[in-house]
Symmetry: C2
Subunit: 507 residues, 2 copies
């Protein structure tokens, strides 16, 4: 790990989640709300050795696992949530930047049609605020910097004749979404054709200018932290079609946009507070530093072995990136479909890089903090300052190919390259932050890549159904199993509720 | 598992490999050769508890691991080969069909330019014989059956005007192989374009008839047990370019053909005998039923924890399908490149189905036993009878999509569908075998898919180098790491020798 990278959590001496640890993790989270609605559970405190019994064991205390636990507890069931790390929140993680402020080094935004997440955060007392989006966007290409007023519909597309056909390309993509059933994309009429090609192939077949290719690449990288060559067209269409809800159709532009899009709002105190507040209400049901190593199913129930001991249950809900779920030793072994699926569901590559300044100086220049560029390092930035605008935080992403290349290079040169991008976007002042930090999710032992798991060609068609199909007493949750807002916090919550329902039916 | 599927091995009471077990596994293998060239090692016998010390631990007793062990022992080093199963041989496995005869349910053929395998088998006293290939081939399409004399160059391509442009397609593919450096395909001049598309995309762009598409699909399925949509064009070109050696260029036709191709010869007593003979000479160095769970690297060496106890060594060689190597718990964790690669390296899907008859009755009809068809079950068959031609064995493959579909269906209906294909190819007599058995390698706990691991688009380009890059004291071997004959027994042997050399340099 580089000097100023976020360090992995070290195991806590006491694995049962404590109020002190939660408050520490929550930073300026104001984590004082009542434990309303969920009764305490006294039997859960972890001490290695004895076998404990619950109705349902949940593997993973990210948003999906915690939501499943809430639903099961509300239904009067006894649960244990076994979390491998020394913290809750999965791919959401707060980082203190001093002065009571935080910046997230993981997932952070919430937007329209993400109704479960918006309702839950309100219920938990976690407020939202608008992502700073006033002023012009910056666009840097072929050595030329320009600024422009974002379009209310196509957002970050600059008014540049060289890239004009990217709008056609995006609208053509958008036009295909209606064909894709979000609960079974493999059943789409053209599934065979769409899952037979990469997004790259489709891009080349449907656009001709370098400018359109450049901006479309940026859009794919921004959503999947992968390259158009990595991703199945069918998967990409599904994922965009899933960016909606039961009453509002999915949209690729909604994924890309800040205004009226997936980056519209942020959480006061940081997105991890949603998980922290859920976990606090679950109390000792949540057991930290408990990586699950083995799951044995028998006729009477399921036995789950973790580094913090053994639990017996009637059902188990396994969350997390599909590829990581293959690292558990299952007895009996999982069926071929599931084993093969997890060989084919890689995580994207994102390094989230942030620089802290005394103030968000770009705002004075009439800039929103959003920028796109053709650099070989950071090609996308946001204003990630706290709600009151002081200090100023610039957020830049290394995504896909650039994340892969830069993860192999020394931290100092990576930092310099990131700040060089920031300076080219926002001026020389960006080179001298008062703090700099980054998070490479591919280095995270219990995630191994962000933002999300995606599928290359051929996978949804022949293995797609295995993502949610229960295996005996095992149910699958996690953002990658969602039908709406797959890959997002909203999708994680939805998947937790769906898995809890399945488990309840089996109790 | 279906009734007549090959059952997974049950753990043996004594994990150290015994002459009795080897002979049993080797069936009619005549396993009586001298332990020439390798001195006995007395310290290796496994008894759980004590930590044993060797120079190099090798994970996996397939061809790569056993070859690495041989090389290290010849160099005077102490080794332990820890094998998860109760047998050696990895993806080669003999199955007794009675009367002292065997038929392989795993990899089985050897052909020209596979020099290491041919030399080793000679040295071990394992003889080869020609795959039965006399007479006509059968071709069944759109309800019409025809027979034809195979072409000496393009083998199984039928003289059918409807499929004539598949020859152009195959030759066009063949023409690209010279561009691909087998030790670093990602450095090919057109790597970005080739790794940006599926083989399916390339097929559709370079041929126009259904007939060509059908036969090209068959060829891809026959080599990778995957569909053209699953595989990166760059990977496919690399794999074919690797089907040669330092003096003879690789060839896709060599992969496909029996005459002068990869299916040219078979091993008397079965291909597993090569591994069994290697293991017998290694004696108690080979420890069965010892799945490795954890590898801890420190400044002084490496500690390998298996279900049969703990070994300390200076170096470790990890073999096996790349996706399976991710199931070991590494401390410190593997770098992002390697972790991401193993998320992106799926195994193909093959169910090897065989029917035994009193005699190879098709030979009397002037047929070679080779057939292709457009059925939704078995689309490719071989004569797999013992060397003396009695009894007769028909071998049919369920591959790629068909293997995936049929693995979900009841064993009885699968058997009926396989025999229905056999009957359509070779006549009604094929419906009444005296024995039927099959092996689904996706169900095999320690393989989880055959024939080989392949890469979808984008993987070789950004992660390819990680397949062989050592991680501290860990070296990687196995068929998927080979530069020549990647995915084949020959490649496995070559990878073992390469990894042993690396380990020796580090001792």
């Amino acid at each position: 790990m580089p000097d100023d990278a976020i360090q992995p959590e070290t195991p806590a001496p006491d694995a049962a989640i404590s109020r002190r640890r939660l408050l520490a993790a929550g930073a300026a989270a104001g984590a004082g709300a009542a434990l309303a609605g969920i009764a305490p559970q006294t039997a859960g405190a972890a001490s290695k050795g004895a076998t404990r019994k619950v109705d349902v064991v949940i593997v993973g205390a990210g948003l999906s696992g915690l939501q499943a636990a809430r639903d099961l507890v509300k239904a009067g069931r006894k649960v244990a949530v076994l979390e491998a790390r020394g913290r809750v929140g999965g791919r959401t993680l707060n980082h203190s930047i001093g002065g009571g402020h935080i910046a997230e080094v993981g997932g952070q935004w919430v937007g329209p049609t993400q109704d479960r997440l918006l309702a839950l955060s309100r219920q938990l007392g976690v407020k939202t605020f608008a992502t700073y989006d006033k002023g012009d966007y910056v666009y840097h290409r072929s050595g030329t910097r320009r600024t422009f007023t974002p379009d209310p519909v196509v957002g970050a597309i600059p008014p540049d004749p060289d890239v004009s056909d990217v709008v056609d390309l995006l609208l053509k993509f958008e036009g295909l979404l209606g064909e894709i059933p979000v609960d079974k994309p493999w059943a789409a009429a053209n599934a065979l054709a769409y899952d037979g090609q990469t997004v790259e192939t489709w891009k080349l077949a449907n656009s001709s200018t370098d400018g359109a290719h450049f901006l479309f690449d940026l859009a794919i990288e921004a959503v999947w932290a992968a390259e158009p060559r990595d991703v199945s067209l069918l998967h990409a269409l599904f994922y965009a079609a899933a960016a909606g809800n039961e009453t509002t159709k999915g949209s690729f532009l909604r994924l890309l946009n800040t205004h009226d899009g997936a980056q519209e709002q942020r959480f006061v105190g940081g997105s991890q507070r949603v998980s922290i507040e859920m976990a606090r209400r679950l109390g000792s049901r949540v057991v930290l530093n408990a990586p699950v190593r083995r799951i044995v199913q028998g006729s009477g129930g399921v036995t789950v072995t973790s580094d913090r001991g053994v639990w017996k249950a009637k059902r188990v809900i396994v969350t997390g990136p599909p590829s990581l779920t293959a690292q558990i030793d299952y007895e009996p072994q999982l069926p071929a479909d599931r084993a093969q699926l997890t060989q084919r569901f890689p995580q994207g590559n994102a390094i989230k890089c942030q620089a802290v300044y005394d103030e968000p100086f770009w705002r004075k220049d009439g800039l929103a903090g959003y920028a796109n560029g053709d650099f070989d390092s950071v090609r996308l930035t946001y204003d990630n300052s706290p709600p009151d605008g002081g200090p100023g935080v610039l957020l830049g992403f290394l995504e896909g190919h650039n994340a892969r290349v830069w993860s192999r290079r020394p931290a100092a040169s990576r930092r310099a390259a990131v700040l060089d991008s920031f300076a080219k976007f926002f001026g020389e002042r960006a080179r001298k932050p008062k703090a700099y930090f980054e998070m490479n999710w591919s280095d995270e032992r219990w995630t191994r890549g962000c933002y999300v798991g995606f599928t290359p060609p051929g996978v949804l068609l022949d293995f797609g159904a295995a993502i949610r199909t229960p295996v005996g007493r095992i149910h699958w949750a996690g953002a990658e199993t969602a039908t709406y807002w797959n890959g997002y916090m909203e999708g994680a919550l939805r998947s937790g509720t769906r898995a809890a329902k399945e488990a309840l039916q089996g109790l």
